[in-house]
Symmetry: C2
Amino acid sequence: MTRLARPGGSPPAPRSVDVARLAGVSQKTVSRVLNDEPYVSADARRRVLDAAAELGYRRNQAARALASGRTRSIGVVTLGSALYGPASWLMGIEEAVRKVGYTLRVATTIEGDPGGIASALASLLDQGVDGLVISEPIDEGVGLISVDVPVLVLGAPPTFTAPQVVTARVGAGRLARAATEHLLELGHATVHHLAGPQRWYSARDRLAGWREALRAHGADEPPVVEGDWSAASGYAAARELAGDGTVTAVFAANDDMAIGFIRAQLEAGRRVPEDISVVGFDDIPIAAYVTPPLTTVRQPFDEVARQGLALLVQVIEKPDVELPPAADQPVELVVRASTAPPPPRPIPGRDRRAIPHAPGGPHDQPAGSEVPSTQP
Amino acid sequence: MTRLARPGGSPPAPRSVDVARLAGVSQKTVSRVLNDEPYVSADARRRVLDAAAELGYRRNQAARALASGRTRSIGVVTLGSALYGPASWLMGIEEAVRKVGYTLRVATTIEGDPGGIASALASLLDQGVDGLVISEPIDEGVGLISVDVPVLVLGAPPTFTAPQVVTARVGAGRLARAATEHLLELGHATVHHLAGPQRWYSARDRLAGWREALRAHGADEPPVVEGDWSAASGYAAARELAGDGTVTAVFAANDDMAIGFIRAQLEAGRRVPEDISVVGFDDIPIAAYVTPPLTTVRQPFDEVARQGLALLVQVIEKPDVELPPAADQPVELVVRASTAPPPPRPIPGRDRRAIPHAPGGPHDQPAGSEVPSTQP
DNA sequence: CGTAGACATGACTGCGCAATCATACAGGAC
DNA sequence: GTCCTGTATGATTGCGCAGTCATGTCTACG
């Protein structure tokens, strides 16, 4: 087997022996310098670095991985959608991975693909990742596959066995609880829930938080309507959930569904928030700019991803050290204009042309509302 | 160097020789079977597959890469944000990469990080990817680094040298032109443009398309206001762009800015679309559900990513074959309720309480409008 | 019946690096 | 001076696989 000239006809890439020859040292010394190992003289180090720069040398990661048994890469399983939540997790993870000196490999699953997680995991394990991140898992197929690297589960409790499992979560339950309590404290008798798909842990977490809040306040627990995260499903759910006009407050499991739901209300002639209050979840960047600006709950994706990854890397590099439990992140409820006290009495489907939101008018926003909250 | 037991204390992973031993063949035959090479008897193939399954064997990708000089992975440089456009590209790419049997490595850059693209590229090249995808590039730092693998540039013309560069684009210019023409054909004297950051090719493309449409129709070209893709910047731009009430039609370079802009109009007492028409760009999933439902332009991210990747893989695997030029994708303008003919005469800032959109009312939607357009 | 070719298989080797081990030399302790 | 310990370096080896080449077997055909 001969060294292959590269496709473009360019000469083969330099190897560490080439660098060694030019620097007048052994190949091993080159390796030592580039890995920041001790026992290299300042002089040798300088000569090696100069030679490497001159040749444009870059280490062959495949060879490094083969020789060391480590790939310095982390695999992430995420949902293959441009939804704000999953995309935010992914970006948070990428940044965190890069900052700890690892690289990222991605495999996606799609909603409703049975075994999708298992095959995504298999693909990443085949690639020899040193650790795995499972973002917003849904409970299918996981556990069927034996995972032999440490795993970070984001946004959910661990559910399968691996040598080490660490978790980082937002405390979505607490957030959901805060959102629900916000509505109850405005005076609503109870709060309906427009849930996410219950195969998702994060959807179940939110449901549980909502339920807790209702119980703590002694409020009735109305039936739950389940959506699929999309605005379309929120729109559709409105028929089921608010057809009779007795609903005065809704907590939606994400902002998209909340926006779809609000749209349906407006089309049905109900005003938000005068007739019906709506709280979303995620604080997507446009939440402050829809009409009415959406009261929602913010998840600190970046911070949670960063902390979780720090734990994961620690487990990868020092498997024996005991870990501190991950700290839950602070709750942040962002109150805007989609929530208000309930109307004096339930208003059966209005027939007059409703004014969904009176812009510019004297319009009571609960404390803390802030329209231009996102970027400048 | 001894084979290392894995961190969890589990026994070392099986190797191809282990499979070979169990199957009663040589290691090379195992390799042949798993690579679908010819000249293996059906019997040997079966024994190898059985043995591999029994041992739970998976090939070591590092060793494969080292021996073959190919990693079967593709690197993608993308913007580190949860914006719908970049996230959609990424997901389209991931799916396409997986379908052609490659794996994906991701490196991100962030807006305004000088040299960010160069360092992302370097990181991916270090990892030995067989090909690169540069998604929605911005023009900084690229070209400073010598790239020795084929590159696919999405959504932009190629701007740097690599052994092979292929491009796949949406024809964003044509889409922008269609959006602008839609407004002109509704009777607007001219169309203002709320542009994206001009360091982005996609933003420049849209600007150029808008300009072309104006020229073709002999319309005046009003000054451009530049945003940063965010709803907040669209909101802020409204002050500059529509302060005097003479603007009747705006084409925003993405939906987020369009939504922020609309929000500002409503707060200023102007109605959309009665007083001012707005077209967005991207057709984000909630575009059909905001108030008013947004007329916008849809980019076939998935399809473009898929076609581009097919080209890229062909170049990787058969560098010598001549390529067909990538076909531009069909234009799709989605007309909803944020556009209408202009008001009889320019209306200086109204002072009455405006009704942004009369839901349920008889409200003229141009042909093709469709509220529940997204998922069921 | 001998030989060309297709088919099937395995021995051997090397990809480029890091781990192991051996070695060499310095400076301090005794 | 001898022994030790710490520092600096290199020779050698092997990670697990795929490429190369040699070899063997079987069929087809003159």
